[in-house]
Amino acid sequence: MTEPAMQLIGLKKQIGSKLIVKGLDFDIQPGEVFGFLGPNGAGKTTTIRMMVGLIRISEGDVRIQGKSIKTDYKEAIRHVGAIVENPELYGFMSGYKNLLVFSRMIPGISKERIDEVVKLVGLEKRIHQKVKRYSLGMRQRLGIAQALLHNPSILILDEPTNGLDPSGIREIRQYIRRLAEQENVAVIVSSHLLSEMELMCDRIGILKNGELISIQQIQNAEEDTPSEVVQINCPAAHHEKAQRLLQEEFGVTAMASGEKLTFPITREEIPSIIKALALADVEMYGVAVERKTLEDKFLHVIGENVIE
């Protein structure tokens, strides 16, 4: 196994007498997209700020490529590109000048590299305009551009899709996947949007009240596991017939409640099940398909959203 891109070791943050982050321990591997999920106030932003040295660590450590952010700050932060919260840049300067200013802070970034990054995020046409005239989506792109300037091996994006329209979100998602897969960058994203995270992450750490309560591996979409939940609305009199049919032909156990029958199934099987039920004269007043999403898992582990 390769060296982890980032290690969190017993990471704690205490403000006053209150523990905001209560000891986080996990590794993030190169080429992995790691999602940081949690309700508001769970400590996501505090953790991210500790990762980049904006907030001091009360206890524990963050190691980036083996270098401690506490004792070896310059060496550690060299590998990190980040947007913390909103992509706030200097509005009175052009996008290009913003990048130029940031490039001067890290030795060895050529003008060619700036042009390359601008191209990568697709801002060529507007790069010489003042940033205050940029839309939020363009700022987000410029934010990513500044984070990528120095070829970081870890990219940290706090709420990267905040305020973007659906096509913008998709584009960002594609960048992130491409960076992880092709450049072997470890990407850490935080969000409270579950569906978003599910689409872009390999693993998701769920944070609640400053504790990591679960790390979920996101399955590939092709995997043949029942990912859908089908709910059929039919009179109770037909339930037995339908349940028997489902059990015999598809090997599925359906639960009955009220007028509803509920059972898990893979997506591909849905049409044939509906056809079989219709042919068996089961009266159906409605068929609803629910995706068993991360949201269900999330709400299951998180329980009620209480900020302590």
Partner: protein, 307 residues
């Protein structure tokens, strides 16, 4: 070191990308122009003294001044001129240049505005987060910003000089032999005009640097630009009145305000009698270092938390 230089360069790039900076320099030029016009059109303006009557004119001047201050150094200088038969030049660009040393208070104002904003603005814009997550320590960033403030003061000083000179030439013409008279320890002495300018401006600049550093400290420590600029300007302007107010208290000599006006040692007009130049310089240095250290410690140690 090259890293530090790049940081200063970045600060200068950011500073001069803001329209406000250019407006401030514009204001400075307008003030110089305004002062030149006022001086040129004032009643007391004398372009050239008449060969026959200049001694008489000087005596009248002295008599006028003596009415409110019989010990004024101008009277001694006038007498010295009459005794030694040295006809005054009238107002020249040189004279305009050193008369204009009070305009350094405009310069101070502008420098305080820059110093008060340079760190606080990064917080206000949210860019502090991007600035601090680079391989440059906070200490380096702090001093790069401070150096940038001083560099701005120097630039503005050069602008002030160049335009004072320019308008001086335009309105009054170049004249004189590059010397001027000054009272030192009760004696009238002839000194180079450059010495005079360096002295007048230099002493004003001490004030400028101290208050700019104060504003910078507040900006770094409290991250509030308006507060930094407001308090620094307020203290700068009430400073001399405070000195008057507390002059009979035993602690008065340790108060920054009492020491800050270094011209008291060239003019000999002291509010607190037992102050010496060395004592004042040491006191000012101590205050200055305290300002810098407080700013530096708080800037490097405080968490950058969300809003």
């Amino acid at each position: 070191m090259s890293n530090f230089f790049q940081l200063v360069r970045n600060e200068q790039t950011k500073l001069y990308s803001q329209l406000a900076t250019w407006i401030m320099l514009g204001i400075l030029i307008v003030v110089v122009l305004g002062f030149a016009i006022i001086m040129r059109t004032a009643d007391s303006f004398i372009g050239e003294y008449n060969d026959a009557t200049w001694k008489q004119e000087l005596q009248e001047q002295s008599a006028d001044i003596a009415e409110y201050d019989p010990t004024a150094p101008e009277i001694m200088i006038n007498n010295y001129r009459i005794e030694n038969d040295m006809k005054p030049e009238g107002t020249t660009a040189w004279e305009f240049l050193y008369q204009g040393n009070f305009m350094t208070s405009v310069l101070s104002l502008l420098t305080i505005i820059v110093a008060g904003g340079i760190i606080a603005n990064e917080y206000r814009w949210g860019t502090i987060k991007l600035l601090l997550i680079r391989p440059a320590t906070r200490t380096k960033i702090f001093f790069a910003k401070y150096a940038s403030v001083l560099l701005f003061a120097l630039t503005a000083l050069i602008v002030l000089f160049v335009f004072s000179w320019l308008f001086g030439m335009l309105f009054f013409g170049l004249g004189g032999d590059g010397t001027t008279l000054q009272v030192q320890d009760g004696e009238v002495v002839e000194i180079s005009i450059w010495t005079r300018i360096a002295q007048d401006y230099g002493l004003q600049l001490v004030k400028l640097v101290v208050w700019a550093t104060f504003a910078f400290m507040i900006s770094a420590a409290l991250r509030n630009g308006a507060l930094a600029i407001g308090t620094a300007i307020f203290l700068m302007f009430v400073g001399s009145s405070v000195t008057m107010f507390i002059s009979d208290k035993p602690f008065a000599k340790y108060v920054l305000f009492s020491n800050l006006d270094l011209t008291q040692f060239t003019t000999g007009y002291k509010i607190i009698e037992d102050l010496t130049l060395t004592f004042s310089v040491v006191t000012i240095t101590v205050y200055y270092l305290i300002f810098l250290i407080i700013g530096w410690v708080l800037f490097t140690k405080r968490d950058v938390a969300g809003h």
